[in-house]
Symmetry: C2
Subunit: 403 residues, 2 copies
């Protein structure tokens, strides 16, 4: 080829090339995992590890990919929200709060304890504890929605607890950061807490009623697919508000979906589903891209990583499982497993600690490894925990609608 | 709000904030335009002008937005391709080639002529001529697909001519650039030409047959929505190949859609439609963002801009209309109007000229203005040209399927 075409190509090829590599590798690995009886999304995360810096080095986490990944996570939670009625979630609020608290206290204490015994400075231990707190509901939600299990009580407890968990995680992070800065700003903490809790409760309680009035107005509009346009505008708006009040954008997207659950028809679901199908692989591959196995060459770091990973799994399992104990053994087991995956939040906390100089590079890597590994471990465990609930053809109407 | 929440918010808010501003402003302006009887996409482009540097200054063209815009254009052309059978397009190849050639020669000569009379250097005049050559089929395709007119012969001529046009535009650009570099690389030009023409013909001729065999295999796969995954993987692959052979990524996406037109069912169309609905506003707003009206304050530049805009409209209208003359007056009028919009290709040519130092800043602005203005002028003209073909309820089956 001649220089001009190459010159034009190098820049213009960037986007189709990254889309192709990420999407195709994700789907190939998903297919491979499904064939050996594992959930497809484990394959998509592993695809990220394979094409990432650890193995092939074809891709590195970058602005474009992480933006698509964030959008993918938002649409994923939005679509899950669409299947959940807020009234049902609110009814489970009490149990979910207990589950969430158990899932905050146990991991924090275990993370802090291990790092202290390891001889790390107090502040570093506190940061690792904080990084182990926040559940990444995206992974669990994706597994349960693919298996059409969103209608189960245990699923709803997991979703509600994960939302509350995010608010609690924010507060823990706020406290820990003010420790690191050496001054505890009590008023600031109170404002953060009130804003985050207030936002969540207001949307969960009055969101559905409001959207029931607004969405039907879409029929009076002249633009095409007006209901879809209203729905996703609302999603972006709540994601933004969530960020401003301090919780994660995906929590806002989930609440938006939930508020719309009763007012939107199958058309909006189908269209959102298309976006989700395109973007979720970017979310999953993005998780895998972040892990750099080469960093785990030092035996001490490997040992710490294994310990922290074990603690991350056990602490959520026990902390959340105990909270759900009154519901019976099966549901307690399901909830305990469903809360295991950590995700981007843990990585963000670790990154903040690194930027503040509170934790060292090797501890940062351990936290990232823990976040990725818990998301890979959880889906097969979920499959076991929900085995009795997965019946072939059990929800054919939904199957037809969600495809 | 306290510093921590703000610190976390500033970065995390970036994506939901830009999504919200772009999407909502596009839809609001689209609604306003539809209410005064204008096509919605004119409103979406104007939304880009309003929130862009010219008026409010809320947004500037950036990496994230331009990536979404490029993806949006690809999905738009992909979806249009899905509605077009390649066998029908190939039958019209002769007429389309004549139309495309007329639409290359006339604008090039007029652009070059005006700049020469204006006293610009020869090379600058040649570059402006080249920038006026390439039709942006996206705008026309969006208007005609919204109005369900993709089945008309004139629409198919426009689509086929726009694809050929893109290949010719590439060759003109290659010739012009080698002039600018002072040496004409004949072998390189020949290779570019053969690759681009070969790629287009091979996909148009054998793509459908190949995909008819591959897509049904999707049913044997274990991953969810396998046909959709195959379809968009194929789209990204052809977009990439298109870029490597020298034509635009969107031409590859269009050819991919066309190859899949006969093998994919309504499910793949619905899911792609969701992605298109989300991303097309970014494509349209992105066009508007590029125009900076403040640059048009110098009377000389305004005058030149008006002249070039007039020439851009008249030259395509006459050049392409004459090519379609044998089909009758109505179709010739439709084809002439349908080929008017220029888009990103014109801007890329102008940018190359600017980077090479061949054209000055004011001429660059004139070309960008011409590209944006032709895309805004064309849709209302299209509405007039296709008035007789738009009958209410004319294609209710399609309406149901495409929503």
């Amino acid at each position: 080829m001649q220089p001009l075409a190459l010159l034009l190509a190098s820049d213009a090829a960037k986007i189709p090339l990254s889309m192709l590599v990420v999407f195709v590798s994700a789907k190939l690995m998903a297919e491979a995992c499904e064939r050996i009886g594992q959930p497809g999304l484990v394959g998509e995360i592993l695809a990220g590890v394979v094409i990432g810096p650890s193995v092939l080095g074809w891709m590195a986490p970058g602005d474009f990919l992480s933006a698509l990944s964030e959008l993918g996570a938002m649409f994923l939670l939005f679509r899950v929200g669409l299947e959940v009625k807020s009234s049902e979630l609110l009814k489970l609020g009490g149990t979910a709060t207990v589950v969430a608290c158990g899932g905050v206290v146990a991991p924090f204490i275990m993370g802090w304890g291990i790092l202290t015994l390891w001889g790390a400075p107090q502040l570093a231990a506190v940061f690792v504890g904080a990084a182990m707190v926040a559940t990444s509901v995206g992974i669990t939600a994706q597994v349960l929605s693919t298996k059409k299990l969103l209608h189960l009580v245990s699923t709803k407890i997991i979703l509600a607890a994960a939302v509350i968990d995010d608010v609690l995680g924010l507060l823990v992070l706020a406290v820990v950061s003010s420790f690191a800065k050496g001054k505890v700003d009590l008023i600031g903490l109170a404002v953060t807490g009130i804003l985050a809790v207030g936002f969540t409760i207001v949307v969960a309680k009055w969101g559905t009623r409001t959207m029931d009035k607004i969405v039907p107005q879409g029929e009076k509009l002249h633009v095409g697919e007006a209901q879809f346009a209203i729905a996703i505008s609302f999603m972006f708006a709540l994601a933004l508000l969530a960020v401003y009040t301090g919780v994660a954008a995906i929590v806002g997207a989930f609440l938006a979906g939930m508020a719309l659950a009763e007012s939107t028809g199958p058309r909006v679901r189908d269209l959102s589903h298309g976006v989700t199908e395109l973007l979720v692989p970017f979310f999953l591959v993005g998780i895998g891209l972040n892990v750099d196995l080469r960093a785990l060459s030092d035996p001490g770091t490997v040992m710490l990583a294994a310990l922290i990973l074990g603690a991350a799994v056990v602490s959520k399992f026990i902390g959340c499982g105990l909270g759900a104990w009154p519901m019976g053994k099966t549901d307690a087991f399901r909830v305990g497993v469903g809360m295991i995956p950590r995700g981007e939040v843990g990585m963000v906390v670790a990154q903040m600690g690194l930027a503040m100089g509170v934790i060292q590079q090797n501890i940062y890597i351990v936290v990232v490894f823990m976040s990725v590994a818990t998301t890979i471990i959880a889906p097969p465990l979920l499959k076991i925990a929900f085995k009795d609930a997965i019946m072939p053809g059990q929800s054919e109407v939904e199957e037809f609608r969600l495809g």
